[in-house]
Symmetry: C2
Subunit: 228 residues, 2 copies
Amino acid sequence: MIAEYKLHHPLLLAIDCIIFGFDGEQLKALLIKRGFAPEKGKWSLMGGFVKKDESVDAAAGRILDQLTGLHDIYMEQLHCFGEVDRDPGGRVISMAYYALIKIDDYGTELMEEHQAQWFGMAEIPELVFDHKKMMEMARERLRQKVANYPIGFALLPHKFTLPQLQALYEAIYETELDKRNFTRKILSFEILQKLNEKEKETSRKGAFLYVFDKKKYKKLEKDGFKII
Amino acid sequence: MIAEYKLHHPLLLAIDCIIFGFDGEQLKALLIKRGFAPEKGKWSLMGGFVKKDESVDAAAGRILDQLTGLHDIYMEQLHCFGEVDRDPGGRVISMAYYALIKIDDYGTELMEEHQAQWFGMAEIPELVFDHKKMMEMARERLRQKVANYPIGFALLPHKFTLPQLQALYEAIYETELDKRNFTRKILSFEILQKLNEKEKETSRKGAFLYVFDKKKYKKLEKDGFKII
DNA sequence: ACAAAAGTGTTGTCTGTACACCCATGC
DNA sequence: GCATGGGTGTACAGACAACACTTTTGT
């Protein structure tokens, strides 16, 4: 490090990660029992510290991987939480990220190791430090993002039905949507590909499965659209 | 600091600030000639380091104040730039902020001291490190934000005309807007208060001045709207 | 009188929203 | 045959986009 920089005070930079999942009915978040002081044993977001030789985004990816074993996850910076006294253990600045995962992809071994648990949005327990604020901000950001970009699919299984997709939007927005209008809108973007298969778990008639068209999806992911 | 935290590697956390202004015709950004190594003498965003006992947001406010002498400025976190090698002088992570200032409020003494200069968006010079990327991201974010929240006023003088406001939006979006449709849309939000004064610098006829209604503005600032 | 910018309305098109019935199937 | 959830069309209302002329006033 050059001399000029040595005059400044170094700080610890942490990552905290809001991990969203969807079980078909509820939007959920994955929380862990904090395994170290301070506040050991309390519910917390998954977190960790940025290492000397890794980028901040890479640190976030590593931390998500540690808990879920998953790679190539939709993940985005949320906000930097930098109040002086936010962590009673010392001066730690936290970059919060949020991630969207397919809840079924996610094994239970790592989950047990970290004493992790899914919580529905209405059952989020008390969280350490400012993690509640992070959670609130993440929910708000997710709502905004999902209204304008087709990222919601990251929360669904590879093949999904239109009723499932609608239930996802309803869970995120805590509202009810009209089936006909929703279907028409989603299909008008032409990012869905209808399969010749039906999902028959949840109804006698069965609902057609869809996958999304990656190419068109990529374009919309950049340009945005307007779902809600 | 507690023992657990001492195991982790502390890092330097910098702030870089994209400062936008509007001169009635062009959207501009305030840049400085970097006054210290590395890359001393090159054009750069205004920046600095987060101190031990100040929050990250407070650091951003302080750095903006150092350059402009202004307080109570619209300012928002943009993104964390955390690549390992982004700064050749050492491992420095940068939180980028963007700020919107009224270009006329801004004196020239501090500007000379920092060798600062306004650049139109088409004339941004080469910038140090990843500052160009920050600038691009800030422009994009400004476009998004201004389409949904009435923050554009932060770039205009306290009293402004409808043609000025339209010129601002046209500059931000690099597009032309229809005068009639724009006026109707803006007035429909009922956040503007028409004054009995005209601005007569730019035309013989003169255009009515407006101020904005702070209360309604606050509400829209939170809820959002849809201008473009 | 003319140049230059401000101000003002109407219409057609598109998008959003509200709303109800039949279909396929497993039991 | 009936209960359950899946799938589909229409009509009305509000928003958006395109478009041209008159007004004011300084020179």
